[in-house]
């Protein structure tokens, strides 16, 4: 595979197959109806961006996809979310197993206060993905390479993960999420705590990652959504207002609310 411009080529192998399909998803936090009737199909091997003003429900929806909302008291999720056609809220689905398949990267880089090696090895270890030390070494190296941070840390894998710079920490967190070989990568504003140079590196990495994963990212920056994503979903007041090709959303939105938002009138 050669590097291609993400805006032009969207038809790579497997791209376009529906990975996640959500139907009529409702989320309540206590009495607050945070997400109303969200239905969306998310394609594999693509970057899908969720945009919208603060409190619009985009992060809430993202956290439904790996059942992180389960850990919040008083949060209720209704509706139907399927990963490869399989209901992820079915009683027989173990959220622990699901989260290994649907990795997550958070807004603030949050490496464990352990060595770089142990950070990446943690997921494979708890899920028993490596039979021995050399296999684990291999997974760690591969993940760090795919996280585009191997060259910077290969000589100091024993250094604490917290000793890295912000951008490096975030790439380490991405490598850590990749290490369990997930199918989907969820990113919750992965660049909002980073400087422009680190942001550019992460964006480049995300573009690289979509060859192997279904990447879904929440972002506050419309420029970022336009640069990185192939599909964009616009959320407003708990509703999915518009969803489609990124180019089309930004140049020719069909809903007036989308237009107001991307032209800066609401948000």
């Amino acid at each position: 595979m050669q590097p291609e411009n993400s805006q032009v080529n969207q038809q790579e192998t497997g791209a376009g197959e529906i990975k996640i399909s959500a139907r009529d998803v409702q989320v309540h936090y206590g009495d607050n109806h945070a997400l109303v009737d969200v239905s969306v199909d998310i394609s594999d091997k693509m970057v899908t961006a969720f945009i919208g003003p603060s409190g619009c429900g985009k992060s809430t929806f993202l956290r439904c996809l790996n059942r992180m909302n389960d850990t919040i008291d008083g949060c209720r999720v209704e509706g139907d979310i399927r990963l490869d056609g399989e209901d992820i809220y079915a009683p027989e689905v173990d959220p622990v197993h699901l989260r290994a398949r649907v990795g997550m990267v958070f807004q603030k880089p949050n490496p464990f206060p352990k060595s770089i090696y142990d950070n990446v090895a943690y997921g494979p270890r708890i899920h028993g993905l490596a039979k021995n030390r050399s296999e684990l070494d291999e997974i760690v190296e591969k993940s760090l390479r795919r996280g585009a941070i191997w060259d910077e840390v290969k000589d100091r894998l024993d250094a604490p993960g917290t000793s890295l710079s912000g951008g490096q920490q975030q790439r380490l967190c991405i490598a850590r999420a990749i290490a369990t070989s997930p199918e989907v990568l969820l990113m919750d504003e992965p660049c909002s705590a980073l400087d422009p140079i680190a942001t550019a590196q992460i964006e480049e990495l995300i573009d690289e990652l979509r060859r192997q994963f279904c990447v879904i990212m929440v972002t506050h920056s419309m420029q970022q959504a336009a640069r990185v994503s192939q599909r964009t979903a616009f959320f407003h007041l708990g509703q999915l207002v518009e969803y489609g090709e990124t180019g089309q959303i930004f140049t020719n939105p069909s809903d007036p609310r989308t237009e107001s938002y991307i032209t800066g009138r609401i948000g």
Binding site: M68, D73, A100, G103, K108, N110, P113, Y122, G123, I126
Partner: protein, 428 residues
């Protein structure tokens, strides 16, 4: 020049009224600072007075007047077949007679009191350990009895009339003769740490109390540490938020504020009354102290668990760690410094606790150190309580000395807490 209507009117900072407000603000700040420094100074002064008065009255208990004498061990007094049953009082009397040949039989009763009552047992122990001494002479350094110790330390004023003095002129003259002969020495008071309690101040020591406190704290730690951490983890990480857990929470906070004597009464009723556990035992003392330490540890642990940033939990959960893996693999290790600090402070509190131990009888008069947690024992604070209650002059200084020892342990424990926190503190 007229201001244009669009520009806001400019504030004149030179206006005397505004300047006065500013001055008043600065003055208020200065007053607060001075008040703060004053209260800090007062606190330090109190601490200094406390330590100085303890040191002033206690330092003398760290040395003890001894007399070095030749004891004649004749076979007439000590049967070589059975050295343990020898007439050691007679040995002492005869040896003193050798030093003071002019003293008659009647006065001998008085003279013998120069030496501590324990001297005869020390001679006996030396002879039992080495029976070849029988028929020879044993040179031994033994403590003098309390009044003479006080005399040597200058606590007895020689100018007060004889009738108001604890020692008569003749007794003082005897002691001075010993001193002139170079037989008196005042070495470090090892007995203070190596002996258990005694009726005689010169023989009394803290060994029993130290062991009692050690066993009680050990039991207290073994019970309250795992129970406290377990309860805190459940409440903080697993418990649902409902009325029931609210009630538990409120009651744990209340429990931390319950006066310790109430826990003592509870222990008396339950441990001694119902379960018939041994009276005065460090084991029961430890269980009682654990009741008090438990809420402290639970509260400290919960605070430490809460202080672990949620991003760490999310990171682990997001990788597919189970709740239990998140808690034991990430949250607990990060909270450990805080938990250990809280535990050590709780234990330090327990070490100084007196009232509950009095109620379960750990203030008994026990002259041997406990061999296990189930034997009758005293603890440091109850030992201080007993000594403070004793009439002999020598116990006054020993009370202060024991308080200094207790404070020493408390400071060491608090220091350990600080060092542990420094060592394990992590940044994220």
């Amino acid at each position: 020049m007229k201001d244009s209507p669009a520009s806001a009117p400019r504030v004149n900072w030179k206006d005397p009224q505004l300047a006065a407000t500013l001055r008043a603000r600065h003055a208020r700040e200065r007053r607060l600072k001075i008040l703060g420094l004053l209260s800090l100074g007062a606190a330090f002064a109190m601490l200094f007075i406390l330590l100085a008065s303890l040191a002033a009255s206690g330092y003398k208990a760290f040395v003890q007047t001894h007399v070095t004498m030749d004891f004649v061990i004749s076979a007439r007094n000590v049967n070589p077949e059975n050295p343990e049953k020898g007439k050691y009082r007679k040995v002492i009397a005869e040896s003193l007679q050798a030093v003071f040949p002019e003293v008659g039989r009647k006065e001998m009763r008085q003279l013998r009191k120069i030496l501590s009552n324990g001297a005869q047992y020390m001679v006996r122990d030396a002879v039992v350990a080495d029976p070849s001494l029988i028929g020879g002479v044993l040179r031994l350094t033994v403590p003098v009895s309390d009044p003479y110790d006080q005399l040597n330390k200058g606590e007895i004023d020689r100018t007060t009339p004889e009738s108001n003095r604890r020692l008569s002129d003749r007794e003082i003259a005897w002691f001075d003769r010993l001193k002139e002969a170079g037989m008196i020495s005042t070495p470090f008071n090892k007995a203070l740490f190596l002996n258990a309690d005694s009726r005689f101040p010169e023989l009394a020591g803290l060994k029993g109390a130290l062991w009692g406190s050690f066993y009680a704290l050990l039991v207290c730690f073994l019970l309250s540490f795992p129970l406290g951490i377990g309860a805190a983890i459940w409440l903080e990480e697993f418990a649902p938020k409902n009325r029931f857990t609210d009630i538990i929470e409120v009651n744990i906070n209340n429990l931390a504020a319950v006066p310790s004597v109430v826990f003592g009464l509870l222990a008396l009723a339950v441990f001694l009354g119902w379960f018939n556990l041994p009276r005065s035992a460090a084991f029961v003392g430890g269980m009682t102290l654990a009741l008090m330490t438990l809420p402290t540890i639970i509260i400290a642990t919960r605070a430490a668990l809460k202080a672990v940033p949620p991003s760490i939990r999310e990171a682990a959960l997001g990788l597919g760690a189970s709740r239990q893996q998140v808690v034991f693999g990430h949250v607990l290790p990060l909270a450990m410094p805080g938990i250990l600090t809280g535990t050590i402070i709780g234990l330090a509190q327990a070490l100084g606790e007196t009232a509950p131990l009095l109620l379960i009888g750990m203030n008994a008069f026990i002259t041997s150190a406990p061999e296990s947690a189930f034997e009758p024992a005293t603890a440091l604070p109850t030992q201080i309580f007993i000594w403070a209650d004793s009439p002999e002059r020598g116990f006054a200084a020993r009370t202060s000395a024991a308080i200094l020892v207790l404070l020493g342990f408390l400071i060491t424990m608090n220091l350990a807490a600080v060092i542990l926190r420094r060592k394990f503190e992590r940044k994220w």
